[in-house]
């Protein structure tokens, strides 16, 4: 779409031509995910996860639509419609339900890898700021959708998750409590909350699909980034999306779907919480209440605020810190001002990137673990480091770091060592190509 050498769409079949002249939809698809979209030739496997996220969104929508055909959104019927009707009575219901349950987890796994790939390779930098921000919007919508979906089986974790998460809103002074009651349609989660969560849980995936279209549209203006972070210069730097990346994405998607199938068939409840197989009881909270694993890092940040500071109490600090930890990512393109995109050429940035990964894993562990004095202190340290990374370390690194020299072009960076590979057996290659290879 964006490069002059992008192949124009030439319909081969008369029917395709007939449609294209009246509604250029085939042309749009060809330019977006067909041979008409030139992609940098050096993408590594970290670039496969965007397509995978799209695949899991599709799986969630398809399994979700059929599950909704059997689900009752009533406080008396919801638990049984999931655990009796769908899991035991509906033909293949157990498979669809487990596929949907684990599909959510896999959707988050591939999305997290996709986000961290963007963080490492500087995919958020100009001219792709809007691609990054639309991605964050998708991520926020995913969190809302996943939360409301988890409420639907109306088990203990569903109920108390709804109670605690809507309780976040009550942290805000004055408007908080009325806002919480308005969101729930009652004083505690009940029929009104369940029905509206079902309605929104059905709606939001389609909103996500819409923002995905914008995300890809914005991406295709400058074209995909790549592991060197160097801009595409000419046709030598790119390959058509189809058949090259459709083939690569295709086999890798099959490999990931295999893992997904293994979990769905052999450990379907591994990523869930057993307490959600107890029907909701508004009068007793489970002893160890935690959200789903994909919220653990944020839950840890929420729990780490245990002290009043200035005129704001601990509860509001927790909620502000938790929302702030995601909102600050919207400003990342302006926080990290280094002109070099890829972490591969930023020796200092690279080390702090991996520290951030470790930090988020620690936050995840703390968020899922019971509160002990050690875990609480560890969580506070890790939460403080998270903000330190984005608000202090990243601006300083981008100001003082000396990046490594960048390759002249994408094709030069990937075509080094060709001479060595093609040299006759036992004969050393030309020294020049070795030097290039070691510099890389």
């Amino acid at each position: 779409m964006s490069f002059s050498w992008a192949r124009p769409y030439e319909p081969k079949h008369p029917v395709a031509r007939w449609i294209d002249e009246r509604l250029p939809l085939p042309r749009l698809v060809y330019g977006a995910i067909g041979g008409g979209y030139p992609v940098p030739r050096n993408l590594n496997y970290w670039w496969n996860f965007g397509v995978l996220a799209g695949i899991f969104l599709t799986i969630q929508i398809v399994t979700g639509i059929v599950l909704a055909m059997h689900y009752f959104a009533s406080i008396d019927g919801a638990f049984n419609s999931v655990n009796q009707l769908i899991m035991r009575d509906v033909s293949a219901g157990w498979l669809l339900r487990y596929a949907h349950m684990n599909g959510a987890s896999f959707f988050f796994i591939v999305t997290y890898i996709h986000i961290f790939r963007g963080l490492y390779y500087g995919s958020y930098k100009a001219p792709r700021e809007l691609v990054w921000m639309l991605g964050l919007v998708i991520y926020l919508l995913m969190m809302a959708t996943a939360f409301m979906g988890y409420v639907l089986p109306w088990g203990q974790m569903s109920y108390w998750g709804a109670q605690v998460i809507t309780g976040f809103f009550s942290a805000f002074p004055m408007v908080g409590e009325p806002l919480r009651i308005w969101i729930l349609g009652g004083y505690a989660p009940d029929q009104a909350a369940l029905t509206r969560f079902f309605s929104l849980h059905y709606l939001l995936p389609f909103v996500i699909a819409g923002v995905v279209v914008l995300h890809i549209w914005a991406l295709h203006i400058p074209g995909s980034s790549n592991p060197t972070g160097v801009d595409v210069k000419d046709e030598k730097d790119t390959l058509p999306f189809h058949p090259f990346y459709t083939a690569k994405d295709g086999w890798f998607a099959a490999a990931v779907l295999l893992v997904y199938a293994l979990v769905t068939y052999f450990a379907p409840n591994y990523l869930g919480h057993p307490d959600n197989y107890i029907p909701a009881n508004p009068l007793a909270t489970p002893a160890h209440i935690v959200p789903e694993w994909y919220f653990w890092p944020f839950y840890a940040i929420l729990r780490s605020c245990t002290f009043n500071l200035f005129w704001i109490d601990a509860k509001l600090w927790g909620v502000l810190a938790m929302f702030g930890s995601i909102l600050l990512l919207f400003f990342l393109p302006w926080i990290d001002r280094s002109p070099v995109r890829s972490g591969a050429y930023r020796p200092v940035f690279k080390r702090f990137f991996w520290l951030l990964v470790v930090d988020v894993v620690i936050l995840g562990y703390v968020g899922g673990a019971p509160i002990t004095p050690f875990n609480a202190a560890l969580g506070q340290l890790a939460a403080a480091y998270y903000f330190l990374h984005f608000l202090v370390i990243l601006p300083l690194v981008s100001a003082f770091e000396t990046p490594l020299p960048l390759p002249n072009s994408i094709s030069e960076s990937v075509l080094h060592g060709e001479a060595a590979e093609s040299a006759p057996a036992g004969q050393a290659s030309r020294p020049g190509s070795v030097a290039v290879a070691t510099a890389e």
């Binding site: 349609g185 505690a188 508004p282 009068l283 007793a284 909270t285 729990r303 605020c305 245990t306």
Partner: protein, 195 residues
């Protein structure tokens, strides 16, 4: 609402339209602004029902009072009842618990209130509060027989570790407020109406 360009264009054929005032506005502009503003206000007004439908409905509000028989509760015991779908703790305090609550200096409290302020006159042994932690809404432990009452002998919230004393006042942990005391009145010697 006319742009500079269109009003400049309009000024060339003032003789034709004839409606332009001294400030470059035409009569048509008033019609445009008026019509769009009217539609805009109407559009905003239609948001009203879409927003208020989410408030608690009449059947939810109708559950606003609950009558409870407290004759079977012995000193030191408590019960949990449901009011507006939320748990309410009704606790018969022992003299020791009352004494403990009254011994705490108000200055030490995060949310300073005396036991007398949190109970009805002459009924200081009946502590009635919502069983909803003021942090994020979990049900604290300590009302049932054998449950963990926490360090201060009142309630302990297992979710995030808030500790309440024998007057259900917050003493330690992330919760900002004391357990909420709902509206209630004694309708008989051994019955109480909550709400």
């Amino acid at each position: 609402m006319a742009t500079k360009a269109s009003s400049a264009e309009g000024s060339q054929d003032t003789a034709v339209t004839g409606g332009e005032g001294e400030d470059g506005l035409r009569r048509r502009d008033y019609l445009k602004v008026g019509a769009v503003a009217f539609a805009g206000v109407g559009g905003l007004a239609t948001l009203g029902p879409l927003l208020v439908q989410m408030s608690p409905s009449a059947d939810v509000l109708a559950l606003a009072t609950t009558e409870v028989d407290i004759s079977k509760i012995q000193p030191g015991q408590g019960i949990k009842v449901s009011w507006r779908k939320q748990p309410v703790f009704i606790r018969y305090l022992t003299p020791k618990e009352i004494q403990e609550a009254n011994a705490v200096p108000l200055g030490e409290l995060r949310d300073p209130e005396t036991l007398a302020q949190r109970t009805k006159p002459g009924k200081e042994n009946w502590l009635i509060t919502l069983g909803v932690c003021t942090h994020l809404g979990c049900v604290p432990l300590g009302i049932g027989e054998g449950e963990n009452k926490g360090k201060y002998g009142g309630y302990f919230c297992p979710c995030h570790g808030s500790q309440y004393d024998t007057a259900a006042r917050i003493r330690q942990g992330p919760a900002p407020k004391n357990l909420f005391v709902p509206e209630y009145k004694f309708t008989g010697p051994k019955t109480v109406q909550i709400g």
